[in-house]
């Protein structure tokens, strides 16, 4: 059977000592940055991107993936004990989780968060195994027109699901596409928009851009805020939730996992959106919704399951289509490209070891995370007291060395400094950087597919409407844009985002 063969391939890669080690390192680092407020998985993945070059591609991706889902575990610890989300996707966990901690039930809250995450991680991994091969084989039959429309659809969905103004998000995507095509044009050899800088001949370095925005600009924003003295509830007690708690949470975990798995696949989705949606859903279906906000354990179980499920399933479009659904996935694509692997449906057939090894490692990583989180929670709490003034200079150091060593090019360092200012300004103007990063990664691919489609159709742009699959993606894109443009739906969207 194919299915078992694939898993066997995966295990043979994931169970080597090196890869187990990197899976562990990733999960550990992920938990660490998840626990620490002020540094999240995107920043960490960006920081480690250049160094992953020194590893074999399998180990590199396994480690980077571990950081992403590991942070989903770590983030809940901070959310529950300190009432600060250690990681953006655990924002909602603070609501009920911290109330539980104040009522002396921090232990069960942490326990259910870890167990719910683990359950969701297992289910979502199975989903990836089942859904990836058919999706990839469909994608293999796509021509340039289908691919172009798919990318349009992906970017539009990312805009619709982004926070804030749609026009700004659209602008950020277009700006990202523009930044993406800076450098030597592969077809004509013309150096485009390099302003005469030789350092830009190969384009804007992805590592420099992502570190600038998610590392440096983020630090500037954090330092601009006033530091709030949060109370740490270090009394945790018994971590294992009681049987009654577990029984009470099972439906919530199931709903969270389902919702999270679906939302993770969508472009612009992923862990953050999944957690918000799951919490809202729980409140809607609960018989006594008034308990929510006052330490309802389901308010921890559902979003924590959802964010982990979403983190895992967001790998599906990245691995099968080469299309990132969120900035972390864009970094994974960056990591693949650093190793000379072109992302897309061929990864699965050309590099089955990488593909299945990564997926199996995600399951192993989840297992490690339960072990890391439940018994070691006391150690993580101590780390919470690490002041930001020690943390951020370390990030600066990592960013500098990382950007410099990708190409041993000083120019990249200055590019990073420029984009740090740019990233800061963007956030201050409520322009989300996520769509920019997605556009940046997709820019060259989009241009190439557009060029090829028009070449095939002899310049007739109707090709995008004549190919049925391409037409479908475009209809979905237009539909999504209409949906946000309609005032009534816009209102509910804003309400949903505020919750």
């Amino acid at each position: 059977m194919d299915f078992l063969n694939n898993l066997a391939t995966g295990f043979s890669v994931a169970l080597t000592v090196t890869n187990l080690l990197y899976c562990f390192v990733g999960a550990l680092l992920g938990t660490l940055v998840g626990v620490l407020p002020g540094i999240g998985p995107v920043t960490t993945v960006a920081m480690l991107l250049p160094f992953s070059f020194t590893l074999p591609p399998e180990s590199a991706l396994i480690m980077l993936a571990g950081i992403y889902y590991g942070a989903q575990y770590g983030g809940s610890t901070t959310a529950i004990l300190v009432n600060i989300p250690g990681e953006a996707s655990s924002v909602v966990t603070t609501i009920d989780g911290h109330q539980m901690a104040r009522a002396g039930r921090a232990g069960p809250a942490l326990g259910i968060a870890a167990l719910g995450s683990f359950f969701a991680g297992c289910i979502a991994t199975i989903l990836v195994v089942v859904a990836a091969p058919p999706l990839a084989s469909i994608a293999l039959s796509f021509g340039p027109a289908e691919y172009f429309s798919l990318m349009v659809c992906g970017l539009v969905a990312a805009i619709v699901l982004a926070r804030g103004s749609v026009i700004k998000a659209l602008g950020m995507v277009v700006l990202g596409l523009m930044f993406g095509i800076v450098g030597t044009d592969i077809n004509s050899g013309v150096r485009r928009m390099t302003f005469g800088f030789r350092g830009l001949a190969d384009g804007i370095e992805f590592v420099a851009l992502s570190m600038a925005i998610y590392g440096l600009a983020d630090i500037a924003l954090n330092l601009g805020k006033k530091e709030d003295n949060a109370e740490v509830h270090s009394k945790i007690g018994r971590v294992w939730p009681s049987w009654a708690d577990i029984k009470y949470c099972i439906p919530a975990v199931l709903r969270g996992t389902t919702l999270g798995s679906i939302l993770g696949v969508l472009p612009g989705g992923g862990a953050l959106l999944a957690a918000f949606a799951a919490y809202t859903l729980e409140k809607k279906v609960a018989r006594k919704p008034r308990h929510f906000g006052h330490g309802d354990i389901r308010g921890v179980a559902a979003p924590e399951s959802a964010n982990n499920a979403g983190a895992q399933t967001s790998f599906i479009p990245m691995l099968t289509l080469g299309i990132p659904s969120n900035p972390t996935m864009a970094m994974m694509i960056g990591a693949m490209m650093i190793h000379g692997i072109s992302p897309g449906p061929r990864v699965m057939t050309d590099r089955p070891g990488l593909f299945w090894g990564l997926i199996v490692s995600m399951w192993l990583g989840n297992l490690m995370l339960v072990v890391l989180n439940l018994p070691l929670v006391g150690m993580w709490v101590k780390l919470l007291r690490m002041p930001y003034r020690f943390l951020y200079p370390s990030i600066v150091v990592f960013c500098c060395i990382g950007t410099y060593t990708v190409n041993s090019n000083l120019f990249d360092v200055y590019v990073m400094a420029f984009f740090a200012v740019f990233g800061y300004v963007c956030v201050k103007l409520d322009c989300e950087p996520a769509p920019l990063i997605l556009g940046f990664v997709l820019g060259p691919m989009m241009e190439e597919n557009l060029r090829r489609s028009l070449l095939l159709s002899r310049g007739d742009s109707m090709i995008f409407l004549q190919e049925p699959i391409s037409l479908f993606f475009l209809i979905v894109s237009v539909g999504l844009l209409l949906v946000v443009a309609l005032p009534t739906i816009r209102k509910t969207r804003e309400e949903a985002m505020q919750e």
Binding site: V174, L223, Y404, S461
Partner: protein, 149 residues
């Protein structure tokens, strides 16, 4: 009377417009080609026009239907961070990793307010030592460690 206060939307629009104008200006020299054989200028010009239109839309909307003021901008952290990064770029090759990092960390520490000089000195030395350990010995990245004599 219309109250026009430049806020987030207005400045976002201006930012998009600036990038669009610069993009279009630079792309004017690239051949457009035709639809069936896109030249290097085709896609950038298309993007520039779309971006410019979005920028105009934002500015227009800000003027007609009000705007949210830009929040507090703290210049200090950003300036010191950029100075720290540039200092790294300038010094890494002539001075090597150790000295360059000590300078970078010291400058970065100025971005915040609450670190004492001794604390910063210790942090700088520790981070420099750790970096040499991780990047030079463990990862064997090609980095100069000491000043080239």
């Amino acid at each position: 009377m219309l109250k026009v206060r430049a806020g987030k939307d207005f400045w976002s629009g201006i930012m998009f417009l600036c990038f669009a104008v610069v993009g279009l200006y630079v792309a004017r020299g690239y051949s457009m080609g035709s639809a069936d054989e896109m030249g290097p200028g085709y896609f950038p010009v298309f993007l520039g026009i779309v971006l410019g239109a979005l920028g105009l839309l934002l500015v227009a909307r800000a003027i007609t239907s009000g705007d949210e003021p830009v929040g507090h901008i703290s210049i200090r952290p950003l300036v010191y961070l950029v100075v720290a990064v540039v200092a790294f770029g300038v010094t890494i090759e002539p001075l090597g990793l150790v000295l360059s990092l000590i300078l970078t960390v010291a400058l970065a520490a100025l971005a915040g307010r609450d670190s004492g000089p001794i604390e910063v000195a210790i942090l700088a030395v520790v981070l420099a030592a750790l970096s040499v350990g991780i990047f030079h010995f463990a990862l064997r990245l090609p980095l100069p460690i000491w000043p080239a004599l």
